[in-house]
């Protein structure tokens, strides 16, 4: 009953494994050390994959990309969803998608400007990447409401940032979830920034977790860099929601180490010191310290982990980059189910021009 015990209105928050890898035994969840090790390895791959995306963008091989650096433990929450649960991401969930099993190559391909990168997500019950801040919580409420109405035990977990909580659509989603008691888990990764705007300018409430109270359900604030807290909160929230005990809000306190996106220069608005002050809270460091205290991690092993990660990531890059580019005609075939004559004429117009000009994309 973590949600009752840690009352955000009283300023309480859940932390189980601290930054030095020490565990509060009383709160320790049923997460085996093997599983933790495994999570550490996947989170390490996630970090490398993320850094690689940044580099690809810098080299002009990828478009704008929103890194997850620093938020790996929060993103790993996706690993704690059931097979039948739904994952509803924003643009900053490459790590969550990766943990859910979306191929890295597909994620890359999407950010390389090709919608087809995400083909296959339906089988994983993952919804498409949402770019409009705050619009996807309503989809999560809707899909989980459908599950409830259809008598299917399945939860929708929706990811969004601290900034998203200022949008009207966040409010509407929370309110519908409360009224219809939908099995929705709202996951706010509070990474302290919405681009340049700090958390305290987003809202004057002390926590984001306490906002759940305004909708008649429970919220909890946890340290989102602590994978044990993430696991424990996810477990309780998903089982509460799944069993009809209502929606839940989890505020995961974390910190965005990187830029907002590759298009952003955080030195413009963030002091170097602030960043440095947060670095010791890195979600991977504490895992390393914990595992190493158990003799389950060493510098040498780290090299092996990184080598394997590198191979995995490089392969994904290769797959993504060798995918054939979409046909220009694709523009015309994905908007409507049916063919429409006036659009068909536009397609023919474009194809005729391409033939005339020998196929090159006009501005390419």
């Amino acid at each position: 009953m973590l949600f009752d015990r840690f009352d955000p209105l009283k300023g309480e928050r859940l932390e189980i494994m601290d930054k030095d890898g020490r565990v509060n035994e009383e709160l320790r969840p049923d997460l085996s050390d093997e599983r933790i090790k495994e999570l550490y390895v996947r989170m390490s791959v996630m970090r490398l994959a993320d850094r690689t995306a940044l580099n690809l963008q810098r080299e002009g091989r990828m478009g704008t990309y929103a890194p997850v650096y620093g938020q790996e433990a929060s993103q790993a929450s996706a690993a704690f969803l059931g097979k039948d649960d739904w994952l509803v991401p924003s643009y900053r969930e490459s790590g969550a998608l990766f943990m859910r099993g979306v191929p890295l190559s597909g994620i890359y391909r999407y950010w390389m400007g090709d919608e087809r990168g995400l083909v296959g997500i339906k089988d994983l019950r993952v919804l498409p990447v949402e770019v409009v801040v705050g619009s996807q919580p309503l989809h999560a409420v809707g899909v989980s409401w459908a599950m409830k109405l259809r008598g299917i035990k399945s939860v929708a977990a929706v990811y969004f940032g601290d900034g998203a909580t200022s949008e009207g659509s966040f409010h509407e989603a929370m309110n519908f979830a409360g009224v219809f008691d939908t099995p929705t888990v709202f996951i706010c990764q509070n990474n302290q920034f919405a681009i340049s705007v700090p958390r305290k300018v987003q809202t004057r409430s002390k926590s984001i977790a306490q906002k759940a109270n305004a909708y008649g359900f429970k919220g909890i604030q946890i340290y989102g860099n602590d994978i044990m807290a993430v696991y424990a909160a996810m477990k309780e929230a998903t089982s509460d929601a799944r069993e009809g005990r209502g929606p839940r809000l989890i505020e995961m306190l974390t910190y965005r180490f990187g830029p907002h996106t590759t298009a952003d220069d955080p030195t413009k608005y963030r002091d170097a010191e602030e960043l440095e002050k947060n670095k010791p809270f890195d979600p991977l460091i504490r895992l390393r310290l914990y595992l190493s205290s158990l003799g389950m991690w060493s510098e040498e092993e780290e090299y092996e982990i990184m080598d394997a990660a590198k191979a995995e990531v490089e392969k994904a890059v290769a797959i993504a980059e060798s995918a054939p580019p979409p046909e220009p005609s694709d523009i015309f075939h994905n908007t409507w189910k049916r063919e429409h004559p006036y659009l068909k004429r536009q397609e023919n117009e474009m194809l005729a021009l391409l033939r005339e000009t020998e196929g090159g994309a006009p501005n390419a």
Binding site: K122, L138, H139, A140, V141, G142, S144, A156, G168, E172
Partner: protein, 325 residues
């Protein structure tokens, strides 16, 4: 065959489809116990229960956004926005989400839903209850927009919309909700989405209208006939993507085109129809296309509403202008 008005015809379409397909659910403000402020969903909650006909909180964004989610979750939601003027509150969900979900997911998540919106002026209502904001939808690829002008089409278009496989905005001409009674078959039929309907044949000009303006167009055509002017009248029915081919064929025959709609002239659908007809029937036109529309001014409160709205008289004046060009 029973004679029904538009309200009852939509109700019947919903009722029949809900009986056939238990995935169909209705959501919206006051749609349940109240049966909708216009009674379009009257009796359906009693018949199908509060789990299929669901009163929601007062939030158009919430209604549209959860409807999308419900569709992703395998249901067929029929969501009501109570008046067209409140559509703007749901427009992110309509234009940025529903319209793009097929494309964004490369077809993995088709969104099969109907968004119902009472539409248009002429009922002496408060501000925002008399608008016709269809232009924004027409410039939004991925959204299908229909509007019936009579009870038969109302049922057939709704039935088709419920099975369409793409999000359909179903605009309901509230001014003629109860003004027209007509025979409506109880059995299953669809009025095809994407097809305009030549309602009256003529040789001197083509008049294109939809929704409540159809009544005015037909009235005008009759008066014009008495004057010896033969007007062909086309009911657009599907506003987007529109069936311009039917209009173009007609204009090739008649040589003149008048389009009428309640929305402001500038940037209205009349412009699009005109542009397409010029593109494809340039040499057939004997006079410029005439647009008989709402004015480029805020729709006034109801003391001046009748001056603002287009009607048969204004259509006739426009028609005469074309004939004497």
């Amino acid at each position: 065959m029973p004679k029904l008005n538009i309200v009852s015809a939509i109700n019947l379409a919903l009722d029949r489809e809900m009986g056939k397909n238990d995935k169909v659910v209705i959501i919206g403000e006051d749609v349940g116990r109240e049966g909708g402020v216009f009674r379009v969903t009257d009796g359906l909650q009693g018949k199908y229960g509060p789990e299929r006909v669901i009163d929601t909180p007062l939030s158009e964004g919430g209604i549209a956004g959860t409807a999308l989610g419900l569709a992703v979750g395998g249901l067929v939601p029929v969501a009501e926005i109570q008046f067209e003027g409140f559509m703007y509150l749901a427009l992110d969900q309509i234009a940025n989400q529903m319209a793009r979900y097929r494309s964004r997911s490369r077809g993995q998540y088709p969104i099969n839903l109907v968004l119902r919106l009472p539409w248009g002026g002429g009922i002496r209502a408060p501000e925002h209850h008399s608008d016709s904001p269809e232009a924004v939808l027409v410039n939004t690829p991925g959204i299908t927009v229909v509007q019936p002008s009579n009870p038969y089409d109302a049922k057939g278009l709704m039935t088709a919309a419920l099975r369409y496989g793409d999000p359909v905005i179903y605009c309901e001409p509230k001014r003629i909700y109860r003004a027209i009674k007509a025979e409506v078959p109880d059995e299953d039929y669809e009025v095809p989405i994407g097809k305009a309907n030549v309602v009256r044949e003529g040789t001197d000009m083509t008049i294109v209208a939809w929704g409540a303006m159809m009544r005015e167009a037909l009235k005008a055509a009759e008066e014009l006939a008495a004057d010896g002017v033969s007007a062909e009248v086309i009911d657009l029915r599907t506003i987007s993507p529109m069936d311009s081919d039917t209009i173009v064929s007609s204009v090739k025959k008649t040589g003149r085109l008048l389009v009428t709609h309640e929305a402001p002239r500038t940037g209205g659908i009349g412009a699009e129809i005109a542009a397409r007809v010029y593109e494809e029937a340039f040499t057939s036109l004997l006079a410029p296309v005439e647009r008989v529309t709402g004015y480029d001014a805020v729709m006034p409160l109801f003391k001046l509403e009748d001056y603002y709205l287009p009607d048969a008289k204004k259509i006739i004046a426009g028609a005469r202008k074309m004939m004497s060009y």
